[in-house]
Symmetry: C2
Subunit: 401 residues, 2 copies
C-alpha cells in the first residue's frame, strides 16, 4: 500500500508558495520569471523522486516514471491568475510528487507527474494540455500576446527548456488524475472533505447586443424612449425567470461582461453589448439554455421597439470523467470519510476536461474555505489537503496492485 508522508507534501507546498509569494497568495503567471523558477524547482523534485523530467514544445513539464510501462499520470498546473492563491493547481502538482515518491517507496514505481503550461490563460486557457493533446497547434497560437503585450513565440524562444523539446506520447499513461481545490463553496458549506468529480461542465457563450436610440437624456421624454440599457434590464429579468424553470439544478448562468455605449451621464444608452455564459453538465441542457436566450431575443424583437441580436459565439461540450476511476475514488472516500464526501460536477474548467477525451481521467476536489479562489485569500485546511492526497495514493495503490 502507498502511504504518503504529510510533512513532505506540506513542505513542497510551502516551498512553492515562496516562489512568487505576495502576502498569503502568489503571483506566478505563465512564463513569468516566478512561473519558470517554480517549475524548475518542480523539475528538481521530480528528479529527486526518481522521475525523468521532460519539457515539451509548449513548456509542459512531465516527470516520467522509469521504464516503458504505461503509468498513472497525476498533476495539474502551477501557474496562477494575475492574483492567485497558494494552492489552486499547485496542490495537484504537489500531490503528484508525493504520491510518486510514496509509490516508489512502496515498490510501485508506476506514477508520473505533470505540471501543464499556462492553464490560467495568460496566453490561452488550458493551453498546455490542448497543445499536448493536439487540439491546438503551436503555429496557430505563437502570435498570441499576454496582457503586457508579450508574444507567446518570444516567451518560448527565451525559455531554454523548450528549445530541444521532448515528445510525450499518450500511451505512456493508463490514466490521469487531477487533484485540485474546489474553487466553489459546495464542500465547505456542507463541511465535507472531498469531492469526486463526475463531469466537468460544458458551456455556451451567447453574445447579446441591444440596439436602442442614443439620445439626449434631458430633452427626450420617457414616453417613446428606446433606451438600450432598459431593454437589457427587461431581457435579463425575463431570461432569469425562464432559466429558473428550465435549468438543471447544477446549471449556472452569468452576465459577466456588459458594456454601455456611449456610457455618458447625459446620454440615453444607444447600445448595450453583453456576454451571457451558461454552464451545465449535459449538451442538451446547454443547448436548451442557449436556445432560450436566442428565442427570447427574437420574442422581444417582435414585441418591442428595441432590437436585440443574440448568437452563440463559443461552445464547449461537457467532459465526463471515467466511470471506473470515479467509482474507485468514491469507494475509498466512502470508507475513509463516511458522509463527508460527495460526487459533484466541476463548474470550472480544468486540463482534466481536455485529457478525458483521450485517456481515462478523474478529478478530486479539496474544499475551498468560503469558496474563494483566484485571489490571495484562497485557502484550504491543511488536514483536508493531506486527506485528499492520501485518498489519491490509496486509490492508486489499488490501480497499480
Amino acid at each position: 500500500l502507498i502511504t504518503i508522508d504529510p510533512s513532505r507534501l506540506l513542505s513542497d507546498l510551502e516551498n512553492l508558495r515562496k516562489i512568487g509569494e505576495c502576502g498569503p497568495g502568489v503571483i506566478r503567471q505563465a512564463f513569468s520569471p516566478a512561473d519558470i523558477e517554480g517549475r524548475r524547482w518542480i523539475a528538481a523534485r521530480m528528479q529527486d523522486a526518481g522521475l525523468d523530467p521532460l519539457w515539451d514544445e509548449i513548456g509542459n513539464l512531465f516527470g516520467l516514471s522509469p521504464g516503458d510501462e504505461p503509468s498513472i499520470l497525476i498533476g495539474s498546473h502551477s501557474d496562477t491568475q494575475p492574483e492567485g492563491g497558494w494552492l489552486d493547481g499547485a496542490f495537484g502538482v504537489a500531490c503528484g510528487l508525493e504520491v510518486a515518491r510514496a509509490a516508489r517507496e512502496a515498490g510501485l514505481p508506476g506514477v508520473s507527474v505533470v505540471s501543464f503550461a499556462d492553464e490560467e490563460g495568460t496566453f490561452a486557457p488550458l493551453m498546455g494540455s490542448r497543445v499536448w493533446l493536439g487540439t491546438l497547434s503551436l503555429a496557430e497560437i505563437e502570435d498570441l500576446k499576454d496582457a503586457q503585450g508579450r508574444r507567446l513565440g518570444d516567451a518560448l524562444a527565451n525559455f531554454p527548456e523548450s528549445r530541444n523539446p521532448g515528445k510525450v506520447p499518450l500511451d505512456r499513461f493508463r490514466a490521469f488524475i487531477e487533484p485540485h481545490i474546489e474553487q466553489g463553496p459546495v464542500l465547505d458549506r456542507a463541511k465535507e472533505v472531498v469531492g469526486v468529480v463526475t463531469t466537468i461542465a460544458g458551456m455556451r457563450h451567447v453574445e447579446i447586443v441591444i440596439h436602442g436610440d442614443q439620445n439626449h437624456a434631458g430633452a427626450t421624454p420617457m414616453v417613446g424612449r428606446r433606451d438600450a440599457l432598459q431593454g437589457f434590464l427587461k431581457y435579463a429579468a425575463a431570461l432569469d425567470q425562464i432559466y429558473r424553470s428550465i435549468a438543471s439544478p447544477v446549471a449556472v448562468w452569468t452576465f459577466g461582461q456588459l458594456n454601455v455605449h456611449p456610457n455618458a451621464v447625459s446620454i440615453i444608452p444607444g447600445r448595450v453589448r453583453t456576454m451571457l455564459q451558461v454552464r451545465d453538465v449535459t449538451t442538451e441542457g446547454l443547448d436548451a439554455m442557449a436556445g432560450a436566450a436566442c428565442d427570447l431575443a427574437e420574442a422581444h424583437n417582435r414585441e418591442g421597439d428595441i432590437k436585440l441580436t443574440a448568437r452563440v459565439v463559443a461552445s464547449l461540450e461537457p467532459a465526463h470523467m471515467d466511470r471506473g476511476l470515479v467509482e474507485a475514488l468514491t469507494a475509498t472516500a466512502a470508507v475513509r470519510a463516511p458522509n463527508r464526501w460527495r460526487q459533484m460536477p466541476s463548474g470550472a474548467l480544468h486540463d482534466a476536461g481536455n485529457v478525458s477525451r483521450k485517456l481515462p481521467t478523474a478529478m478530486v476536489f479539496a474544499p475551498s474555505i468560503r469558496g474563494v479562489s483566484h485571489c490571495f485569500e484562497e485557502d484550504t485546511k491543511v488536514e483536508d489537503l493531506v486527506f485528499v492526497c492520501s485518498l489519491v495514493a490509496e486509490t492508486v495503490s489499488c490501480l497499480l496492485a
Copy 2:
C-alpha cells in the same frame, strides 16, 4: 414693426454651416480653428449690422447695440459637440443677427447679439455664460483640459481676441432671449412649430455603487451568489416602479453610465458603479426622486446580501423663465400659429438657465425633425426656422416700442 428677411437668415445659417462642415453636420468644438473662424465670421456680421463686436476674457462674443440704453440681448452659442448638427445654438446666434439687422432697419436699434463660448462643454459645460455671470472664475478652470489634452489657459493664450478682453456689464441688457432647436421630439411629434420654454429643468446626479462577491462564474452555484449586476437589475426595476408613481409628467430619469467590475466573461461581477440622472422642473420633484433612489438603496441593504451605496453627487436647480417674456412670446405665437405652439419645459440645459438668474430671460424652441440632435443628422424645416425668428422679431418689436 420689425420685419425679418428670411433669405438673410438662411444665408447666414448656410454660410456658417460651411465652416467646419462635415456631411450634413458640422464640427466646431470650442476653441478649435473652425469654432474661432466661425465666430470671427459672426463678429464681421455683427459689424455689418451696426453692432460693436466685443470679446470678453473667456471668449464670449457680444455684438453691442449703439448707445448706452439697455438693449435686448438675443443669441446662443455657435460651438458644437464632437459631432454636431448645423443648427443647434448657431440658429439662435443667426436669429439674433437677423433680428438686430431688421430692428435697425425699422428704426429700433435696441438689439444686441451674443455667441457664448464653449456651451457644449469641450472644457466645461455652459462655460462662457458662467464666467460672464461670475459664477465660475477663470482662475479655477484655466487648467481644465479638453479630450485631446489641450489646456484651457493655453487655448485662451493662443486666441488674440481674448488678450485685451472687454467687459460687458449686465446692465447693458434689459432681457435675454435664446432661440434654439428643441433637441427632443415633442414639437415634431405634435406637428407644432414653436415651443415657448417655461422652465429649464434642474437635475440631480445620484452615484450608485453595488457591492457583491466577485467569484468564479463556473464554480459558484446560483444559490448564495452575490452578483452585483443582478443586484443592479433588481434595484433598477424597483426604482422604475417607484418613479412611475411619484415622478411629475415631465420628469425624466436615466442610467446613462454603468461600469461592471471586473467585466470578464467567466467572473461574477463583484461591483457595479452607475450614475442615475433625474431631471424635473421643480426642486421638490428633484429632491423626491433623488431621495427615493437613496431610500431604495437603504431598503435593499436591509433586505439582502448585496450592499448598495447611493449618494447625490451633483445638483442643479430648475431655472424659471421670465413670466412677462413667456406671456409676450406666447401671445404672439397664439396669433401667428394658432394651435401649433406650446409652452414647455426644457429638459436640456442652456446658457439661458444661467442668465435667467440675473436677467429676465426667455427661450423659444424650433422643432427638431425626429427629435434628433448632437449628431450630423440634426435638422429642422426651413419654414420653421423662419417662423421662430419672425416670432422673436415681432415680440421684440412690442418690447422696444
